[in-house]
Structure formats: structure tokens, C-alpha cells
Subunit: 740 residues, 2 copies
């Protein structure tokens, strides 16, 4: 290789420096050394713009943001690896021999190197003329090296008379290194995207998205999620992973002493797993996490000569209290044990999303507890016959006598771009007979599983998922909640006693963020679930697209009083129904007898106040008007256990709780209330029909008296519904506006 | 009292409703009942503006944001307490008798009540004409009641022929309740400030500020902070507390069933204490927290008739990992056990702030360990004689042989508006001989105490506060850090082994926010403290107002090589100094002997790379240029303990580490290096003088060879300095910009 070099020499006049930063006036006083003029040189010498080398630390700046400083060695060679198109700072005056006031520059012509000199002297108080000026050079290399140390610069030192005082060589190996992700979500890992380390919510947003690989694609281990091991569980498992690329360019190998390391911060190590991705899936299945919970840093080999390394990345955890959902993966270039350059990419794990009653149902689950064959058959008629939806019956083996299908699980989903949504069941910490249901019956290919539990706290009834619902999409105050809002029940904030949803579950729900949580007061109920006093029914085309149904003692009393006024006071209610499952005592009583029960009336005034309290929260937080709400008649009775003084009162439904219904499109399976029959029709049923059927809804009343009602729940408590995902994408949400 | 009432009746034509929300056309068809015309009535009837009753949930909206819904009772009286100038929603059609299509209104003239009717009907899909319209009234009362239930509205129901179908009375008791703080920070608790529940950083900012009452104003219990009990510790203690007022107006007492409660959320309960404030301090001192860690909610009595209740509020904790610093205190008005109205105020506790070397010193602390009398006397000359600053010597009783005053404590302060700053010592978790020093010698009136510790983790050397420093104020990239930035040392982020600062301390420092933390690499040092390789010296009038001094092996080798070149290779260094404290082996060697030690040279190349790594971080994060940095010659030696494989290397200073200096204004107390003496002056000292004295600084070299250097530290490690607070106020910082 023919080396053609050029020389530039500049004079520094120390005494004239006044301002704190002076750009060196490059005066070319000696332009040849081996016969090549300065004009032919590809070395450029120019003043720098302001302090632009201190790049803004914006979220888009994924490249190492500082300028690396290189030390020269007088009359010797300093060599370094540099990153293409970044600047390095070379300390000139720190190696300048005594008396050096002029600096020269020699560089190879075959390296397109830019050198900018700058004097970084600083005025102090007093005698600053005694302070030697600090001269630095900023060196920028535009193309990568093909050989080690093939980019060369020689710094020359002269005294005031132009006499040569020595030199310092700088030999650079210029490489390009970039860690890449699919920041524009089109399925292609673009090179060095400006958004590879950033995130923006909304339709004009960007940022790479990662699926939590919570399903199970291992044929044998049906209760183990793909995230529970550190292996690739086959080709399907790979489809659940995000892509990451290490792209490099430069010489065949890095100079001795240089190495690369992929790592995640300690705080992220439990949340992400990284595999090498190769064409040979069989071989891949034998490889463990390159990076994962067991190993948060690993050396990666430099592939050289434009080589690339591809990775598959799996999210291991949904967002949670201490994990906002953002994951950073770093690539560091080391010289010996010091990182000299870093690149970083960011993923955002997809949240877990709940599905409201307004979404189309796909599967309804119910338990066969042997005593409920009649109910299951009637339900099958409603679900399969009437609504055309699959009914899955969990047998006694699976439920071990636990009929509360609603309470054990919540069926939702998660989603990333360029892929079908993945169903995900959230398993409640309640741990009763159905505790293994979600792992055994739900978990599988493309059906993920998540749970939050703590051995430190025993679940109480408010941790059951009858106490966890989600509203349909709502708009309020100019804010859009296109995935609705999560609803949970708790004790009053101001209350010192009382039951609350366990913190790990509560915080998990808040952490998903895309369905901002609303807390209601449900601790006044014995079972304590919000589905005992509320539900949503779809009313397409209406103001919000749905009605909120609220249990209403006032409405029940209103109906009964009207009946009494109209001369029906002697009509018997709950005819032939026993008051409890095992006793022979009859529940039946007349309208007038019920109305005469002053204790019950006083208690219901209180319960109405509790429901009204929730009504006001729901109106405020969902942007509802009175016309969006339908009152469903119900009376509650205080079943206070005198031994349990901590919870007061403990309300349960006095007759089957109609609001606790199963909603499948316009078809509603409503607990049959067995109210006063007038002209062949139950007055409660007639009222509910009159309120809901004009909205296009169809009411089907199911008898759940003995099999659910007397045991503390109703139709909704005994069923669960898997629904289709939203068509709206969570990453398109304007979350900052939602959170304002 | 003469009751003058007016009647307004409006006709609702159900069948004509098409749009989802229709404002009722108020058609006055009957304007008198007891002879008063509608025109004279103070009752106004007007359509509502859009959905303005759904107020924006902005941070400024401290009043209960929803509209409370009231149920009427047909042919009976419903009574309620309402808050003045807020709206309540009255459900008209839910109690309307069958056939009612027109509604009338009767109201007292002596209450200035506004009633707005609104029809909240919603179109569904299909047969919406069957859906009864939902009529509501929004009632607004402009002045407070003097008597219970003195604000009265009567709702009348008529059929289509104008026949009277009944009525529903609403009796209101209107009160004004407001919980107030000093949101504009002028020392006066303004009434219902729009910012009482909000916070804005910056010179145009607002929001109430609370001091962490971490000092001790109890004469007897010198080791107990005022926050450690639930008592008011005298009149001085009261001055450390913020003010909060409960202001009320309305009748002499609340109607039966109503009560008020002050509470904080569970998550805030450990961070705030609230006392009743009365004129009688002696009496107050007997009262415990109304609200505090032991009791997060308490009933407060309604004072009535414009009465006020004053509270004193103390912060109990500085911001921390799980406590952002914002505290909310709620006031709830209850009807029975349901909160019907809430008001809320917010405080922001003041952060703990560190003081850099550029601030004026007030006190210097040092330990008398009996073996260091000579050093202490020399130091006294420097501190008291030369710099005119008080020197406090901690005797052996207090230090139990622990001389590392820098490591045990960090002296800072905290500040709230309208009050002198309070000094606060942060006690390190290192727990050596000096562990009681801060509680015994610092804690007192207006001298607070804070610590972070965990019994789960034993402190390592990086938890000592020689590893915790703060930069002077800096500007970079248009961002202003007027209180500087905190600096701590750690292992490299990518490193899997290595020592790190304990998480509780690290997170505490981050949580203060006003001095954003920079992490440096210090684990390569045996002791592992950043003050072993860096310090700041003030240079007023210079670009940033200071110079960063960095230890430099290159500079030390450069000086020695120049000496050798100039023929001084045989000059002896460290003359007469023993290599260790107990052995008789001599450290002394010639310049050439040291230069010939190739192991030492190779190690120092590595150490220089570590320092350069930190240099680049400091340049980037403090916005420094090369001219802002002064290299201070130092050589390090690897004292790797072969038994300790986890930390590698373990560098210590080869000769007294000059950068580890005590800075008092322009006076620098520098460890005397005992380098090669040429022409009667140590070459290292001469170089340091030549670098620093032109900047207006004065160098004083103190012999710490046996008493500190040989034991792993130097002058800075052995001293600590209490400095004056910044004049800049932390609440004036543009924190959002700083964090961008």
C-alpha cells in the first residue's frame, strides 16, 4: 500500500487568548513533507461548532453519548479501536514536550479522517497568563478499517522557531458496531434506527415490543410455561420471541485486548431471556439463554467483515410494581476490562389486557359439581344453542368441588405487532379447588399463563376475580380509554380495618397501565365482589355503547311498594324455595311481609348508600350519565357473623342477584329472582325485561337458587368467558393523555 | 321566618327525543302557588353547559371531582349535607310516579339555589322510543346554611293533563369545608388555593413544602430525633413543622350521622405526622400525633360557624426509593360510614442536599487518635490559623480509634421556604468506631440526622462516604444543575462480581433528585473511594467556576521521565519514610529505580485507563472540557490480596495521594507526596503548585505518611467539612428540564 501523507502545522499564540474557549486559527505554514500538497489531502481541519460534541442525552441517543478521550505517547505509537462516525478526543498538550507552541498533523490519505483542533483553556481569577493552554484534537473517521490500525494520524510538535520537538503517532482501527431491534414494528430489524432505544405511545409512536412468552409449546410439560425454562421450546416458541441483531463492520477480527459483551442491568435480569438465533432450530433447542435470569452478561464474538449475529428475545414477566415494562439490552465494547463504547436497545413488554362484556365471546367455562347438572344443561342451551358459543365444562377432577369459575381466573390476552394476539389467563391467588385449572386447562400453545402470589399473605375473598372486572371502552373529558378501565373492589381508603385486594395483584393490575384501574367499595358485601352489584351490557350505537347495570335496593322496594299499593301485597315470593340448602325452612313470604321488615329496610338504605357511593365513582371515572345506568332490583341482607368483628356489615343478596349475569352479546343469562308473580310473570323479571329489552337485549332467566345463590354466588360467579381481543392496539393508545 | 316560594313546571315530551342528550325546554306553565311570580324567584332554571360537571381530573382539582348523586323519596323528605358552590345530581325520574311527564319545582327564596334540569336519555339500537327518559336535576347552592336543612327544594310531578301526582322534598344543609396549606410559600395558609394539591418546579412554581423534622430539640434525649417520637418537642420543634388549616362554615353543628375524618393513605402513613396546633405549647407537648405512623386516620370535630382548626405537620422521612417526596392529606366528610365529600392537600418534603467544595466552609472535623497529634496540630494551623474556620476534634472516646472522619458521615442540609436551612448529617452504614459520632456530636437543635441501613446487608468499603461526593454547580447542553450533581463510585455496570454501594443508600441518593447522581468506577481501588482519584477546587470566574482534579499516573511518569532525561535519575524519593507503619523496611528509591519497575508501569497503564474511563463520564455528565481538568501526579500499586479473588485489582496510592486534599476556599491542604527533591523542592509539589497556583489557589502540603497514607487514606479521608448551604433554593430548580 502506498502511503501518501500530508502535513498541517498550526501556531498557537498563547498570550492572546482571552475568551474561555478559542477555536484555533489553522494557519498552514508548512504544507509538504513528502511532496504532497495540503489541497490533495483528505484530512480536513476545521473549527468545531459550539459544544456540539456534547450530544444531548435525549431518549433517541442510543449510541454512547460522550466523547472518548485518548492519550497519546510522545515519540511512540498509541493505538485504539474507534467507532465509525463518532468523535474521539485526543489530548495534544498533555504529551507536548516543553516549549512546543506549534502542532503539526500528518495523516494517511486512504483514511478519510477529519481532525479538528480546539484550545480548551479556561480563564481563572488572577494570573491566567501563567496557565498553559490545553490543546485537544477531535478525530472523526468516516469509514471502517479493513486492517488493524490502518487509520493513522501523526501529531508533530514544534517550538516557536519551527524546530521539530518530536511527534506522537495515533493508529486507529475503525469499526462499526450496532445492536438493532425492530423499532418501527414492521417485522424487519432495521439498522441503527433512531428509535431503537426509545418509546412513544400513540398512532405515530415507535419502539420495539416484546411478548411475554407465557404460553407452553412443550408437548410433555403441560404445566410449565416457556418462560419457566431457559430453553427454546421448538419452532413455535421462536415465533413468540422478538428479534435483535448485532451488526458489525471492520477488519476480520478485533485487535488484541478488545472484546464485546452483551448485558442487562441487574434490575432487568429476571425479565428477559436472549438466545442466539440460527437456522438450525434443533441445535438452538440445546442452547440455553445467552442472557437471562441466571446470567445477565455474556461475551459475544465479533463476527468481523460485515458479519451479523441474530438473537431471539423473550419477555419473562408482564409489567409489575417494580418493572415498568421497559427492558434495556446493552452491547459494550471492551478494551481489556474497560468499556470504551456502548450501544443499547430497548424493548417494551406487552401488557396483559382484559376483555369487557362488549367483546365477542369465544368460550364459556363452567364447573360440573355433580349437584348442578340441571343448571349446566340450561346453561348449555343458552351458550351453545342460543348464542352459538362453545361451552367448556370442567369436571369434578378439575374443580374438586369448587364451582366458582369466575373467581379462580381472569381471561385476557397480550399482543405484539405482526403476530396474532396470545390469550393469557391470570390465575388468582385464592387457591381453592380450581387452583390448577388454568395451568391444566388453559395453558398451552398460544395460551399463556400469569399469576401473582405471595407466600407471605393468605388470600382473602376480595382477591377472587369476581372482584376484578373491566369496563367497555369509554371517553371522558376528552380522554379516550379505548381498552376500557379495570375495576376492582376494596375497603374504603379511609378505612382502617377491612379487607383489601392483595398488594401484589393490585399492583400488577395498575402496572399494565393500558386499562387504568378504578377502585370501588365492595368490602360491605360478605363475599366482597364487585360483580355482586354491577355489570355492563352492550348497547351498540348508544352514547357510550353500553349500559352500566347496578343492583338497586331502592328499585326493588319501589316495585314491591307499587305492588302493595296496587293490591298485590299478599302475593307470595320465592315460592317453594328453601331458605338454605340443607334446612327445610322456607324462604317464601308475601310482598307485604317483606315490606314490613323494618330491619331489612334500614339495612338496605345503608346498602343503597354504598352502591350510590360506587355509582358516583363510576359516573366520574367512566364519564357516565344517569341515562347510561340501569337499576336492577335487588335486596341485600346483613349476614353479620357476630364472631367476625372486623368486617361490618356483611351483605348478601336476599334473592338471586340479577345483576350477576352472564353477558354473551345481546343475550343475557340472568339469575332467576323468583319474585312476586303477577299475571303469570315475575314482577322483577318484568321490570328487568322492560328496562333492557328496548335496548335490544334478550333476557334469559336461569334458576341458580340451590346450586349457586344459596352458596353465595350466582350465574356470573359460576361461569367465565374467553372473549376475542380488541381490534385497537395497545401501543396506539395515547397513554400520556390518559394519565393526565 | 317568612317562606316565599316559587313554582316552575316543565313539560317533557318523551316521544320527540332523538339526540342522546336533550336539554329540557323549560316551559313555565304555572308560575304561582302562593302568589309569587317566577320573576321574583332567586331560583334559576337553565340548561347546563356540555359536560362541564365532569371536571377535568387535573392536578389542580383538589376538591372532590365527581358530582354526588342524591336519591329523592316520593311524598317524603330527603335531606342531605352539601358543599357550598358544588353541584349535586338529583335523580328525578327514578322516583317519578307512573304517568308523570311534567316536573315542577318549588324552592325557598332565602336560599340562593340554582337548579338545572337535564334529560340524560341515551339512544340504543332499535326500539328506543320504549325507553323512558332519565330526568335529573343539578342543584347548586351558593351560600352556606345557618340552620340544619334550611335550603329547601320541592320537586312536583304532574301527568300529561297537569294533574298533581305527588312531590319529593329535598332539604339541604349547605356547608363550606376546606383543608388548606401554604401553596404559594409565603408563610400564610391561604384559603382554598388552586395549588393546594399540586406542585410545579421552578421559579414560577408552587406547592406546599414540608421539612423533615430530623433534628433534636429535646434537651435530655440527645440521640433521638424529633421524628422519633410522636410528640411536639417544645416551641423550637414547632418551628420545624408546616402549617395546615381546616376551615369550615355552616350551621353550629353537622346534622346527625355526619362526621369528618382526616386521613392519609396507607403508603404515606410512615412519612408524616400531624398535630393539633394551639396557642398553649405546654398543652400541645402532651398531645400525640393526630395522624402519624401509629394512626393514619382520625376523626376531627367540625368547629362550626366559621370555625377553624389549625394543624402542625412534620415530615418524617426524606424522599426515598418508594417515596417520591409527595404527601397527600385527605379530609373526608362522612354520612354514616360513606364518604360523601373529600378535600385534599399536598406537601412535598424537602430533599437532603450535599455541599460541594466550592461552598464556604464553616467547621472542619478531624479525629484525635493519639498517634496523630502532630497532624492535628498542623491541620489546626491550616484550618483555624490560615483559613479562619473552626476545627472540631473528635476525641478517642468518640472515635474509638477510627480516624476516617470522611467515611462515616456526609454533611448536608435541607431547606423549606420562610426558614433558615437546617443542617443534616447523613450517617453511613459502615458502622465502625465513629458510628455514634453523628448522633452524639452533630444531632441537636437545627442539626438533623438521617441514615439508611439494612440489617440484611453488611456494608462494604464502597458504602463509606469517601465514595460520596458532589460536584459544584454545572451547566451542560442548556441544562442547569445549580446544586451540582452527586458522585458515587461503584463496580462497572456490566461487571458480574465486584463491590457496589448498598442499594438503600444508592436509592436514597437518587431519590433526592435535585443533585442527579453520576456513578463512577471506583471498585478497582482497594478502598474503592472516588476521593482517591478526584476532587474539585474552586476557580471563581472560570468557565464552570471550578477545576476537576484527577489523579494521573501518566502525569507522574511524565514528571519522573523528564527528571531522568534531565539527569536526576539518582534522586531519592520518599527519603527516610518506612514502607509500612510497623516494619522498618524503607520505601525510599531513586527516580530511575521506580521507572525501571515494569510491573508497576504496566499496572499504572491499566489504572490510567480506569481513570480515563471516569474522566470521560465526568466530561460528559458535568459538561467539562479538557481545560476544566487538572492532572495531579500519582502512581498506584496493585495490592491484590491473593485470598480475595472477587476484587481484581486492588489499587492503592504508591505515595501520598495529593488529589485527596481538604479544600477550604482557595486554601488546599494536600498530602505531602515526599517525591524527588530537586533544587530544594519536591518535583511533584512543584508541578501541583504550577498547575493550581496560577488559578488563585494556595497549596499547603501536610505530612500524613504514617498517620493516614500507610493506613489507606489521606487528608481528605481523615477530615470532614460542614459548609454553608447554597443560596439557590431547590424548589426553584427546573427539574423536568434537568431530567430530560
Amino acid at each position: 500500500m502506498i502511503k501518501i501523507t500530508s502535513i498541517i502545522t498550526i501556531t498557537i499564540t498563547i498570550s492572546s487568548i482571552i475568551c474561555s474557549v478559542t477555536f484555533i486559527q489553522a494557519e498552514v505554514i508548512q504544507a509538504s513533507r513528502i511532496g504532497v500538497s495540503f489541497q490533495n489531502s483528505r484530512v480536513t481541519l476545521s473549527p468545531m461548532e459550539g459544544t456540539s460534541y456534547l450530544s444531548e442525552r435525549g431518549p433517541g441517543a442510543s449510541r454512547n453519548e460522550g466523547v472518548r478521550t485518548i492519550n497519546l505517547i510522545l515519540n511512540d505509537v498509541a493505538s485504539a479501536v474507534v467507532i465509525v462516525k463518532t468523535e474521539i478526543c485526543v489530548r495534544i498538550s498533555s504529551v507536548a514536550p516543553e516549549g512546543a507552541v506549534r502542532y503539526g498533523l500528518v495523516s494517511d490519505l486512504d483514511g478519510d479522517i477529519t481532525v479538528k483542533f480546539r484550545e480548551e483553556s479556561v480563564s481563572g481569577y488572577g494570573s491566567e497568563e501563567d496557565v498553559a493552554p490545553v490543546v485537544v484534537a477531535y478525530v472523526h473517521v468516516a469509514t471502517v478499517s479493513r486492517q488493524e490500525n490502518d487509520k493513522r494520524v501523526e501529531f508533530l510538535f514544534y517550538n516557536v522557531d519551527g524546530e521539530d520537538l518530536g511527534k506522537a503517532d495515533l493508529h486507529l482501527t475503525c469499526v462499526d458496531i450496532s445492536l438493532d431491534v425492530d423499532a418501527d414494528r414492521d417485522g424487519i430489524v432495521e439498522k441503527n434506527s433512531p428509535h431503537k432505544n426509545s418509546w412513544k405511545w400513540g398512532r405515530d409512536g415507535y419502539g420495539a415490543v416484546l411478548l411475554v412468552n407465557s404460553d407452553c409449546e412443550t408437548a410433555n410439560e403441560t404445566e410449565m410455561r416457556d418462560t419457566d425454562d431457559e430453553l427454546v421450546n421448538g419452532p413455535l416458541d421462536l415465533l413468540d420471541m422478538g428479534r435483535m441483531m448485532l451488526r458489525t463492520d471492520g477488519p476480520e477480527q478485533l485487535p488484541e485486548g478488545y472484546s464485546m459483551q452483551l448485558y442487562v442491568d441487574d434490575k432487568f435480569a429476571d425479565y428477559v431471556g436472549v438466545f442466539y438465533l440460527t437456522a438450525d432450530t434443533e441445535a438452538m433447542m440445546k442452547n440455553k439463554h445467552v442472557i437471562g435470569p441466571r446470567q445477565r452478561a455474556a461475551e459475544v464474538l465479533y463476527p468481523g467483515m460485515g458479519g451479523e449475529v441474530e438473537f431471539a428475545v423473550e419477555g419473562l414477566s408482564f409489567p409489575d410494581r417494580y418493572f415498568e415494562g421497559f427492558l434495556h439490552i446493552h452491547l459494550a465494547l471492551f478494551k481489556d476490562d474497560v468499556p470504551i463504547y456502548e450501544d443499547m436497545v430497548q424493548f417494551r413488554v406487552a401488557p396483559w389486557i382484559m376483555t369487557p362484556n362488549t367483546l365477542e365471546a369465544e368460550i364459556v367455562y363452567v364447573c360440573d359439581t355433580r349437584d348442578n347438572k340441571h343448571f349446566v344443561e340450561k346453561l348449555r342451551g343458552f351458550v351453545e344453542g342460543l348464542s352459538g358459543i362453545q361451552l367448556v365444562v370442567c369436571g369434578l377432577d378439575g374443580n374438586r368441588g369448587d364451582r366458582w369459575m369466575q373467581d379462580e381466573i381472569e381471561l385476557g390476552y397480550t399482543e405484539v405487532p405482526q403476530r396474532q394476539p396470545m390469550a393469557v389467563v391470570l390465575d388468582s391467588p385464592r387457591e381453592r379447588g380450581l387452583c390448577k385449572f388454568s395451568q391444566r386447562q388453559c395453558l398451552g400453545p398460544d395460551f399463556g399463563y400469569a399469576t401473582r402470589n405471595t407466600s407471605r399473605h393468605k388470600a382473602n375473598s376480595l382477591d377472587s376475580f369476581g372482584n376484578l372486572e373491566v369496563s367497555p371502552p369509554v371517553k371522558l373529558n376528552g380522554k379516550d380509554f379505548p381498552l376500557g378501565r379495570i375495576l376492582i373492589g376494596n375497603a374504603l381508603t379511609s378505612s382502617l380495618k377491612g379487607r383489601r385486594m392483595m398488594r401484589v395483584v393490585n399492583r400488577f393490575l395498575y402496572a399494565q397501565k393500558v386499562q387504568p384501574v378504578i377502585e370501588l367499595f365492595s368490602d360491605w358485601l360478605n363475599v366482597g365482589h364487585i360483580d355482586e352489584f354491577m355489570t355492563f351490557v352492550p348497547v351498540p350505537g348508544s352514547r357510550q355503547g353500553f349500559r352500566l347495570c347496578l343492583a338497586s335496593p331502592n328499585k326493588a322496594y319501589g316495585i314491591l311498594e307499587k305492588l302493595q299499593t296496587d293490591g298485590h301485597g299478599d302475593v307470595v315470593m320465592f315460592e317453594g324455595k328453601r331458605a338454605s340448602r340443607r334446612s327445610k325452612q322456607m324462604k317464601q313470604e308475601t310482598v307485604s311481609e317483606l315490606l314490613a321488615n323494618q330491619t331489612l329496610r334500614a339495612e338496605n338504605k345503608k346498602f343503597q348508600a354504598y352502591i350510590d357511593f360506587n355509582r358516583d365513582i363510576l359516573k366520574r371515572e367512566l364519564g357516565l350519565e344517569e341515562g347510561d345506568i340501569v337499576d336492577i332490583p335487588e335486596i341485600f341482607i346483613n349476614e353479620l357473623d357476630p364472631k367476625n368483628e372486623t368486617i361490618e356489615p356483611q351483605a348478601t343478596s336476599y334473592f338471586p342477584d340479577m345483576v350477576n349475569m352472564l353477558v354473551l352479546g345481546k343475550n343475557l343469562a340472568i339469575p332467576k329472582p323468583f319474585g312476586p308473580v303477577i299475571d303469570g310473570e315475575c314482577a322483577f323479571e318484568r321490570y328487568v325485561r322492560s328496562a333492557l329489552e328496548p335496548l335490544g337485549l334478550s333476557c334469559y332467566f336461569l334458576d341458580d337458587w340451590y346450586t349457586y345463590h344459596l352458596q353465595g354466588g350466582e350465574v356470573h360467579c359460576g361461569t367465565n368467558t374467553k372473549r376475542k381481543p380488541f381490534s385497537v392496539k395497545w401501543w396506539d393508545l395515547d397513554l400520556p393523555r390518559m394519565c393526565q
